[in-house]
Amino acid sequence: MTPLAECLLISSMLFAVGLAGALTRRNAILVLVGIELMLNAANLNFVAFWRFGPHSEALTGMVFVLFSIAVAAAEAAVGLALILAVYRHAGTTDLSRLAGNGDSTYSVFTIGVFPETTLSAGVPPKNDCT
Protein backbone atom coordinates (compact mmCIF):
# COMPACT_ATOMS: atom_id res chain seq x y z
CA MET A 1 0.00 0.00 0.00
CA THR A 2 1.41 3.34 -0.96
CA PRO A 3 1.57 6.16 1.60
CA LEU A 4 -1.08 8.03 -0.35
CA ALA A 5 -3.47 5.08 -0.09
CA GLU A 6 -2.83 4.83 3.64
CA CYS A 7 -3.69 8.50 4.09
CA LEU A 8 -6.81 8.16 1.98
CA LEU A 9 -7.90 5.07 3.93
CA ILE A 10 -7.50 6.85 7.26
CA SER A 11 -9.33 9.86 5.90
CA SER A 12 -12.22 7.70 4.72
CA MET A 13 -12.38 6.04 8.15
CA LEU A 14 -12.55 9.49 9.74
CA PHE A 15 -15.28 10.47 7.29
CA ALA A 16 -17.28 7.32 8.08
CA VAL A 17 -16.98 7.93 11.83
CA GLY A 18 -18.14 11.52 11.41
CA LEU A 19 -21.00 10.45 9.17
CA ALA A 20 -22.14 7.77 11.61
CA GLY A 21 -22.07 10.31 14.42
CA ALA A 22 -23.94 12.94 12.44
CA LEU A 23 -26.62 10.41 11.50
CA THR A 24 -27.07 8.73 14.88
CA ARG A 25 -26.47 11.29 17.61
CA ARG A 26 -29.51 13.03 19.02
CA ASN A 27 -27.85 16.20 20.21
CA ALA A 28 -27.54 18.96 17.62
CA ILE A 29 -24.11 20.01 18.87
CA LEU A 30 -22.74 16.52 18.30
CA VAL A 31 -24.24 16.43 14.81
CA LEU A 32 -22.24 19.59 14.15
CA VAL A 33 -19.16 17.86 15.59
CA GLY A 34 -19.70 14.97 13.17
CA ILE A 35 -19.84 17.43 10.29
CA GLU A 36 -16.60 18.99 11.50
CA LEU A 37 -14.98 15.56 11.51
CA MET A 38 -16.10 14.98 7.92
CA LEU A 39 -14.62 18.36 6.90
CA ASN A 40 -11.37 17.39 8.57
CA ALA A 41 -11.31 14.11 6.68
CA ALA A 42 -11.56 16.07 3.45
CA ASN A 43 -8.71 18.31 4.61
CA LEU A 44 -6.53 15.27 5.25
CA ASN A 45 -7.25 14.16 1.69
CA PHE A 46 -6.10 17.52 0.36
CA VAL A 47 -2.88 17.37 2.35
CA ALA A 48 -2.19 13.79 1.25
CA PHE A 49 -2.76 14.58 -2.42
CA TRP A 50 -0.58 17.67 -2.11
CA ARG A 51 2.21 15.72 -0.45
CA PHE A 52 2.24 12.65 -2.69
CA GLY A 53 0.88 14.04 -5.92
CA PRO A 54 2.62 15.84 -8.76
CA HIS A 55 3.32 19.58 -8.73
CA SER A 56 3.59 19.82 -4.98
CA GLU A 57 5.67 22.96 -5.37
CA ALA A 58 2.52 24.85 -6.39
CA LEU A 59 1.14 24.50 -2.83
CA THR A 60 -2.42 24.24 -4.15
CA GLY A 61 -3.52 21.63 -1.62
CA MET A 62 -2.12 23.56 1.32
CA VAL A 63 -3.82 26.78 0.26
CA PHE A 64 -7.10 24.95 -0.22
CA VAL A 65 -6.85 23.43 3.25
CA LEU A 66 -6.17 26.89 4.72
CA PHE A 67 -9.33 28.23 3.09
CA SER A 68 -11.23 25.14 4.15
CA ILE A 69 -10.17 25.63 7.78
CA ALA A 70 -11.39 29.23 7.60
CA VAL A 71 -14.74 28.15 6.15
CA ALA A 72 -15.08 25.41 8.79
CA ALA A 73 -14.42 27.91 11.57
CA ALA A 74 -17.10 30.23 10.21
CA GLU A 75 -19.47 27.27 9.85
CA ALA A 76 -18.89 26.21 13.45
CA ALA A 77 -19.52 29.73 14.73
CA VAL A 78 -22.75 30.20 12.78
CA GLY A 79 -23.94 26.65 13.45
CA LEU A 80 -23.44 26.92 17.19
CA ALA A 81 -25.16 30.31 17.21
CA LEU A 82 -28.11 28.72 15.40
CA ILE A 83 -28.20 25.88 17.92
CA LEU A 84 -28.20 28.42 20.75
CA ALA A 85 -31.09 30.29 19.13
CA VAL A 86 -33.05 27.05 18.67
CA TYR A 87 -32.35 26.10 22.28
CA ARG A 88 -33.64 29.45 23.45
CA HIS A 89 -36.88 28.98 21.52
CA ALA A 90 -37.57 25.29 22.03
CA GLY A 91 -35.77 24.58 25.30
CA THR A 92 -33.88 21.59 23.93
CA THR A 93 -31.16 20.70 21.47
CA ASP A 94 -32.40 17.15 21.13
CA LEU A 95 -33.11 16.57 17.45
CA SER A 96 -35.63 13.78 18.00
CA ARG A 97 -37.74 16.08 20.13
CA LEU A 98 -37.28 18.97 17.74
CA ALA A 99 -38.41 16.84 14.84
CA GLY A 100 -41.55 15.83 16.70
CA ASN A 101 -41.23 12.06 16.52
CA GLY A 102 -40.04 11.73 20.07
CA ASP A 103 -42.03 12.07 23.26
CA SER A 104 -42.68 15.75 22.80
CA THR A 105 -44.90 17.89 20.65
CA TYR A 106 -42.18 20.33 19.68
CA SER A 107 -41.75 20.62 15.99
CA VAL A 108 -39.30 22.44 13.82
CA PHE A 109 -42.27 24.16 12.27
CA THR A 110 -43.44 25.63 15.55
CA ILE A 111 -40.10 26.82 16.82
CA GLY A 112 -40.80 30.33 15.61
CA VAL A 113 -43.94 30.62 17.73
CA PHE A 114 -44.57 29.64 21.31
CA PRO A 115 -44.98 25.87 21.50
CA GLU A 116 -47.47 26.03 24.37
CA THR A 117 -49.98 27.92 22.21
CA THR A 118 -50.13 24.95 19.89
CA LEU A 119 -50.67 22.69 22.89
CA SER A 120 -53.46 24.68 24.53
CA ALA A 121 -55.34 26.06 21.57
CA GLY A 122 -55.18 23.02 19.36
CA VAL A 123 -55.34 25.14 16.25
CA PRO A 124 -52.44 25.97 13.98
CA PRO A 125 -50.73 29.07 15.30
CA LYS A 126 -50.88 32.25 13.33
CA ASN A 127 -47.71 32.98 11.53
CA ASP A 128 -47.09 36.60 12.41
CA CYS A 129 -43.64 36.94 11.04
CA THR A 130 -44.45 40.30 9.52
Partner: protein, 167 residues
Protein backbone atom coordinates in the same frame (compact mmCIF):
# COMPACT_ATOMS: atom_id res chain seq x y z
CA UNK B 1 3.80 3.04 7.04
CA UNK B 2 6.02 4.46 9.70
CA UNK B 3 5.34 3.88 13.37
CA UNK B 4 4.73 7.55 14.14
CA UNK B 5 2.18 7.80 11.36
CA UNK B 6 0.42 4.68 12.63
CA UNK B 7 0.33 6.00 16.20
CA UNK B 8 -0.97 9.41 15.15
CA UNK B 9 -3.59 7.91 12.85
CA UNK B 10 -4.87 5.52 15.51
CA UNK B 11 -4.92 8.36 18.05
CA UNK B 12 -6.97 10.51 15.67
CA UNK B 13 -9.39 7.71 14.86
CA UNK B 14 -9.77 6.72 18.50
CA UNK B 15 -10.49 10.32 19.43
CA UNK B 16 -13.05 10.63 16.67
CA UNK B 17 -14.77 7.38 17.65
CA UNK B 18 -14.82 8.42 21.30
CA UNK B 19 -16.20 11.84 20.40
CA UNK B 20 -19.06 10.16 18.56
CA UNK B 21 -19.65 7.39 21.11
CA UNK B 22 -19.32 8.94 24.56
CA UNK B 23 -22.47 9.68 26.45
CA UNK B 24 -21.49 12.85 28.26
CA UNK B 25 -21.21 15.86 25.98
CA UNK B 26 -18.20 17.33 27.77
CA UNK B 27 -16.38 14.02 27.38
CA UNK B 28 -17.24 14.12 23.68
CA UNK B 29 -15.74 17.59 23.41
CA UNK B 30 -12.53 16.46 25.12
CA UNK B 31 -12.25 13.42 22.83
CA UNK B 32 -12.79 15.78 19.91
CA UNK B 33 -9.80 17.82 21.07
CA UNK B 34 -7.71 14.63 20.95
CA UNK B 35 -8.91 13.91 17.41
CA UNK B 36 -8.19 17.46 16.19
CA UNK B 37 -4.75 17.50 17.82
CA UNK B 38 -3.89 14.12 16.32
CA UNK B 39 -4.94 15.38 12.91
CA UNK B 40 -2.71 18.44 13.32
CA UNK B 41 0.19 16.14 14.20
CA UNK B 42 -0.62 14.08 11.08
CA UNK B 43 -0.33 17.25 9.00
CA UNK B 44 3.04 17.91 10.65
CA UNK B 45 4.24 14.41 9.85
CA UNK B 46 3.12 14.86 6.23
CA UNK B 47 5.35 17.92 5.92
CA UNK B 48 2.71 20.63 6.17
CA UNK B 49 3.99 22.47 9.21
CA UNK B 50 1.96 25.62 8.79
CA UNK B 51 -1.24 23.63 8.36
CA UNK B 52 -0.55 21.55 11.45
CA UNK B 53 -0.05 24.62 13.57
CA UNK B 54 -3.08 26.32 12.01
CA UNK B 55 -5.11 23.20 12.79
CA UNK B 56 -4.04 23.33 16.42
CA UNK B 57 -4.72 27.05 16.68
CA UNK B 58 -8.09 27.04 14.97
CA UNK B 59 -9.56 23.70 15.98
CA UNK B 60 -8.02 22.93 19.36
CA UNK B 61 -7.84 26.57 20.34
CA UNK B 62 -11.05 28.02 18.96
CA UNK B 63 -13.58 25.51 17.67
CA UNK B 64 -13.25 23.14 20.64
CA UNK B 65 -13.67 26.00 23.10
CA UNK B 66 -16.68 27.21 21.11
CA UNK B 67 -18.22 23.74 21.30
CA UNK B 68 -17.60 23.51 25.04
CA UNK B 69 -19.25 26.91 25.49
CA UNK B 70 -22.24 25.81 23.43
CA UNK B 71 -22.56 22.62 25.49
CA UNK B 72 -22.51 24.56 28.73
CA UNK B 73 -24.88 27.27 27.48
CA UNK B 74 -27.46 24.72 26.35
CA UNK B 75 -27.16 22.71 29.57
CA UNK B 76 -26.50 19.73 27.36
CA UNK B 77 -24.30 18.02 29.91
CA UNK B 78 -27.07 17.14 32.32
CA UNK B 79 -29.92 15.81 30.22
CA UNK B 80 -31.20 12.37 31.09
CA UNK B 81 -32.04 11.60 27.49
CA UNK B 82 -30.49 8.75 25.52
CA UNK B 83 -27.47 9.81 23.50
CA UNK B 84 -28.35 8.02 20.28
CA UNK B 85 -31.43 7.96 18.09
CA UNK B 86 -34.10 5.28 18.20
CA UNK B 87 -32.85 1.85 17.06
CA UNK B 88 -34.12 1.87 13.43
CA UNK B 89 -32.58 5.28 12.77
CA UNK B 90 -29.41 4.33 14.61
CA UNK B 91 -28.89 1.10 12.70
CA UNK B 92 -29.66 2.81 9.40
CA UNK B 93 -27.14 5.56 10.12
CA UNK B 94 -24.38 3.13 11.04
CA UNK B 95 -25.15 0.99 7.98
CA UNK B 96 -24.98 4.03 5.70
CA UNK B 97 -21.62 5.03 7.21
CA UNK B 98 -20.21 1.52 6.85
CA UNK B 99 -21.44 1.30 3.26
CA UNK B 100 -19.84 4.63 2.38
CA UNK B 101 -16.57 3.53 3.99
CA UNK B 102 -16.69 0.30 1.97
CA UNK B 103 -17.31 2.19 -1.26
CA UNK B 104 -14.50 4.66 -0.53
CA UNK B 105 -11.97 1.97 0.36
CA UNK B 106 -12.94 -0.03 -2.72
CA UNK B 107 -12.32 3.09 -4.79
CA UNK B 108 -8.98 3.70 -3.08
CA UNK B 109 -7.75 0.17 -3.76
CA UNK B 110 -8.98 0.07 -7.35
CA UNK B 111 -8.21 3.57 -8.51
CA UNK B 112 -5.69 4.09 -11.24
CA UNK B 113 -5.09 7.67 -10.12
CA UNK B 114 -3.20 6.55 -7.02
CA UNK B 115 0.28 5.82 -8.27
CA UNK B 116 3.29 4.99 -6.18
CA UNK B 117 4.67 7.95 -4.35
CA UNK B 118 6.83 10.27 -6.38
CA UNK B 119 9.93 12.08 -5.30
CA UNK B 120 9.91 13.42 -1.76
CA UNK B 121 9.14 17.08 -1.89
CA UNK B 122 11.09 19.78 -0.17
CA UNK B 123 9.28 21.21 2.80
CA UNK B 124 7.66 24.50 1.85
CA UNK B 125 8.53 27.46 3.97
CA UNK B 126 5.97 29.86 5.37
CA UNK B 127 7.51 32.52 3.15
CA UNK B 128 6.61 30.48 0.06
CA UNK B 129 3.09 29.94 1.35
CA UNK B 130 2.70 33.63 2.06
CA UNK B 131 3.97 34.51 -1.39
CA UNK B 132 1.44 32.15 -2.97
CA UNK B 133 -1.37 33.50 -0.79
CA UNK B 134 -0.50 37.09 -1.59
CA UNK B 135 0.13 36.32 -5.24
CA UNK B 136 -2.19 34.09 -7.21
CA UNK B 137 -4.68 33.54 -4.35
CA UNK B 138 -5.14 37.15 -3.30
CA UNK B 139 -8.79 37.36 -4.39
CA UNK B 140 -9.89 34.19 -2.54
CA UNK B 141 -8.00 35.45 0.51
CA UNK B 142 -9.95 38.70 0.47
CA UNK B 143 -13.23 36.85 -0.03
CA UNK B 144 -12.41 34.55 2.90
CA UNK B 145 -11.71 37.58 5.08
CA UNK B 146 -15.03 39.11 4.08
CA UNK B 147 -16.82 35.82 4.72
CA UNK B 148 -15.28 35.45 8.17
CA UNK B 149 -16.40 38.97 9.07
CA UNK B 150 -19.90 38.29 7.80
CA UNK B 151 -20.04 34.98 9.68
CA UNK B 152 -18.89 36.65 12.89
CA UNK B 153 -21.53 39.38 12.65
CA UNK B 154 -24.17 36.85 11.65
CA UNK B 155 -23.33 34.55 14.56
CA UNK B 156 -23.57 37.43 17.01
CA UNK B 157 -26.90 38.56 15.58
CA UNK B 158 -28.37 35.05 15.53
CA UNK B 159 -27.26 34.25 19.06
CA UNK B 160 -28.18 37.64 20.48
CA UNK B 161 -30.83 37.55 23.16
CA UNK B 162 -34.08 38.98 21.87
CA UNK B 163 -35.59 41.79 23.85
CA UNK B 164 -38.86 40.86 25.46
CA UNK B 165 -41.81 42.63 23.91
CA UNK B 166 -39.84 44.02 21.02
CA UNK B 167 -42.05 43.89 17.99
Amino acid sequence: MTASFLILASLTLAGACAAMAFRGLVHCALALVVAFAGLGALYLSLGAQFLGLAQWLVYVGAVAVLIVFAILLTHGADTGLPALSAPPLRITGILVAVAIFAILSWAIFHSSAIRPAGLPVSQPTVRQLGAVLMGSYILPLEVIGLMLTAALIGAVIVAMKEKQGAE
